[in-house]
Amino acid sequence: MDITELTVHELLEKLEKNEIEIKDITNAYLNNIEKKEKDVESFVTILSEEAKKQAEEIQEKKEKGEINSRFAGIPIGIKDNICTKGIKTTCSSKMLENFISPYDATVVEKLKSENMVNLGKLNMDEFAMGGSTEYSYFKKTKNPWNLNKVPGGSSGGSAAAVAAELVPWALGSDTGGSIRQPSSFCGVVGLKPTYGLVSRYGLVAFASSLDQIGPITKDVRDSALLLNIIAGYDKKDTTSKNMEKIDYEKGLKNDVKGLKIAIPKEFYGDGINREVKEILQKAIEKYKEMGAEVSEVSLDIAKYALATYYIIACAEASSNLGRFDGIRYTYRTKQYSNLKELYKKTRSEGFGKEVKRRIILGTYVLSSGYYDAYYKKAQQVRTLVMNEFNKIFENYDVILTPTSPTVAFDIGSKSNNPMEMYLADICTVSINIAGLPAISIPAGVDKEGMPIGMQIIGNKFEEQKILNTAYAFEQEFKFREKYKPEFKK
């Protein structure tokens, strides 16, 4: 038995039956990292020694009965924009190359209180801006299914590490698709929770009104488990929702009889790759076979979502990234003769070109004289997008779309064409605009064997519904039994 092939819920079972020991798990993953990380390059920081030591300590404590948390000793990987006390949090940027956070993000505190083991910090597009992880200052992460292809982004390191079995599960963050799109590209399960379900405290802000942390896992049950751990109101994040805790794993059920699924035709149009459409069509048929009621709907407003998204996200980013100014914890330019030059050179040298592009765009749309035409208008469209989604959810339980218009593309093929890169977000951004939850699960592969994901969107705080919809398909389709990443070159 190879431990790293197991899901977390399978590991928990084995631990319970004493078939494996806590430290075996971390060791198995560290071995895998040793073997495969050079090909995948998914980590910014690997915590080999620390993780090994931590796993041994946890095992000892558990044996002595000093801890009894269910997830004690389960390893995890964390996207490098989530703050971890005493460990570098770089956002894959030169700007924060040496930044060590003095505090833990709320989600990291939650992992720690479960005595989980941090295997390391995972690569991403710089400051979570991008869809391929090519905009990392440090390295280009490869797609484990084909090392010449991108893993998607911005949580490309997290998705690739889960797919390559370098971590059993990981945390990502999603502002416009950054969990779901790489999960789709890497054939894993990625969930973006409802805005406000998971605390953002300690997530380095890209676009505050859109960002959410979420799980990237091997299967749907693990997704529910990790969501159980990280979800919940946090008084440090006033945008988090104060509501009763839900046990998403307990609520999992393999039953979609009578489930009303909406198929918005705008998500199946010209811009979507033919093979992606075919796989989605098969999935729809499968749902029908399982007893779901599927109907086509229109979500006309979706065509404005991408423009709206890039205005709002960039506007917020231009302000959020102001603090990286060379004064305190960031990179600082070597030579400067006055304050203005210190700012100019630090930010010119410390940020990559995509980040600068978005800061400039965001600064522009907030400028006096342009605010009404761009930012204000975008906020108005945002309300309309929410309204249209609400209308659909009056009659339907979930919405089913492709996660991405294409499968993973070749490294280097889009990195110099921002417009084409932005279009890769076309299926995912409207969900962030509306603050809804959505999950991406693998629904098949194309003829080259690259995974194709489908996105299941739910109404606000109806994570259980999308998890159940995904779970039913997964149980029927058994993607993980059929397909495996090949690391081909």
């Binding site: 703050c83 924060l96 505090y103 405290y201 380095v204 505050s208 506007a315 231009s318 100014d325």
Partner: protein, 479 residues
């Protein structure tokens, strides 16, 4: 043309630090004067990933200030980001309020030479203070102290209703008094917890169009505000008289040279790119919440003043001086409780205490002794234990090293001589030593009596009961 041909138009933006225990968006303390960067946390240092949580006390205090200045309280307001780069602003944006301030359309009444005048308040909004830059004595650079970053402020913006530096001073003193009375701010100008930016323009009398205004910053006393306004008004009139134009700009007042200097040039005109802070929910207030604060608002200076006029029969002028400061007013009321002599307490506050405050540039809140000690001092005088001239010395002692006045006079041996035989002894001695004065008095020069009493006081170091002394001299001289 002369200055009298011009009308001066002034509007103020006052920043007042709120005296909440903790900062506006984190739980760091707000105490003034701590060592640099000791009252900071990841939030107010703007560490990546941190989020603000609005301190509800700040909203409460600002609503109090709004109600005390007759404002309409907005039930639906929000926080906005004001974006600009400066090393004392760690997030590179200040969380403030832009188009939906908490309080709007208020006014306060001030006293002017020509009677009462309403000064309209445009708005009051909440925001966070920035940190401070300290010049490094060793390396020659600047060091950032973030203790003040995130200390809550209210900004009180007035309409351009003020017409002279006297009116400005009167407005500021009134505003300061109100904020002190409702206990939302310490208003210590020297510590920077009460600061005013002054917008000044001039126009020829009779003109309807407002002149171009300049904004002055960096005045940290009433005196420097007055000086700055006088200087700026002269400068603007001079420019206009020379046929030149006033440029709209921000000026920094320099107290040493007594001049204003341009802070930034035009090409650097700031665009703050205000937008609603997505990290903070809108501030929604219920009618009950606002009414509850209104009901519990403490007595305001105007009403106290009226009470002093009615109850203690103080003069308008004296009541104004005492109620101008909550601390003085509290001192007044509490000292009366001890000595039951309102007239005496008011006299002490208005003459000697105010004089010492002026001389030492002390704020009333810094008075070291308490009302009980002042009250006791007056009791000692009223009982005849000490003379009022000794009382002045006791007051000085109270400023130096506050303690029980009874202990002071015992310790210093200042108890008044009221023993008839002792007084007689002194009078006899003085009369013997000053035959010329005695002769003068007898020749009808009444002034000589004063000289003799003075000599006797000098002899006894002020301890002799002046009334008894006077009577004894008269008796001896006329008898």
């Amino acid at each position: 043309m002369t200055r009298d041909d011009y009308e001066v138009i002034i509007g103020l933006e006052v920043h007042s630090e709120l005296s909440t225990k903790t900062k506006i968006f984190c739980s760091c303390p707000t105490t003034f004067g701590a060592s640099p960067n000791t009252q900071v946390c990841p939030i107010c240092m703007a560490m990546p990933g941190t989020l603000p949580v609005l301190n509800e006390k700040v909203v409460e205090y600002a609503v109090k200030a709004g109600l005390a200045t007759n404002c309409t309280i907005s039930k639906d307001s929000k926080n906005d980001r004001k974006n600009y780069f400066y090393p004392d602003l760690p997030k590179a944006y200040q969380i403030s309020q832009y188009d939906k301030p908490l309080c709007e359309k208020g006014y306060i009444e001030i006293d002017t030479e020509s009677g009462k005048k309403k000064i309209r308040i445009t708005r009051i909004h909440i925001e966070e203070d920035a940190g401070k830059l300290n010049h490094d004595d060793f390396g020659g650079g600047s060091l950032v102290d973030l203790n003040r970053a995130g200390v809550p402020l209210i900004e009180i913006v007035s309409e351009p209703d003020l017409r002279s530096s006297q009116e400005v001073e009167s407005y500021l003193k009134k505003l300061k008094a109100i904020l002190e009375y409702i206990e939302v701010s310490d208003c210590k100008m020297q510590e920077g917890s009460f600061r005013a930016d002054v917008n000044v323009s001039v126009r020829k009398k009779g003109d309807e169009k407002l002149g171009t205004r300049t904004e002055m910053k960096n005045m940290n006393s009433f005196r420097s505000i007055t000086r700055a306004i006088e200087y700026e008004v002269d400068r603007q009139i001079e420019l206009l008289e020379e046929g030149k134009e006033v440029e709209q700009e921000t000026l920094r007042w320099d107290d040493v040279s007594g001049k204003t200097f341009s802070m930034r040039d035009k090409e650097d005109a700031q665009d703050y790119r205000y937008f609603p802070d997505p990290d903070l929910a809108a501030i929604k207030l219920s009618d009950e919440y606002i009414e509850n604060i209104r009901k519990n608002l403490p007595e305001l200076p105007e009403s106290r003043k009226q009470r002093y006029l009615d109850q203690y029969k103080l003069s308008e002028k004296d009541a104004n001086i005492i109620t101008a400061s909550k601390y003085l007013s509290d001192l007044f009321e509490n000292a009366i409780k001890v000595c039951n002599n309102p007239k005496a307490v008011s006299n002490w506050i208005i003459s000697d205490i105010s004089r010492i405050l002026n001389e030492t540039e002390m704020d009333p809140i810094e008075i070291p002794f308490d009302a009980k000690q002042l009250g006791k001092l007056i009791v000692l005088i009223d009982k005849g234990t000490i003379s009022s001239s000794i009382g002045k010395k006791v007051l000085e002692e109270l400023f130096e090293e506050p303690r029980d006045p009874e202990d002071i006079i015992k310790e210093k041996g200042w108890i008044q001589i009221s023993d008839e035989s002792a007084i007689k002894e002194i009078v006899t001695k003085i009369l013997e030593a000053n035959p010329q004065s005695v002769a003068d008095y007898k020749a009808g020069k009444d002034k000589a009596l004063g000289f003799l009493v003075g000599q006797a006081m000098k002899e006894t170091k002020g301890k002799a009961n002046p009334k008894m002394l006077n009577e004894m001299f008269l008796k001896e001289l006329n008898g």
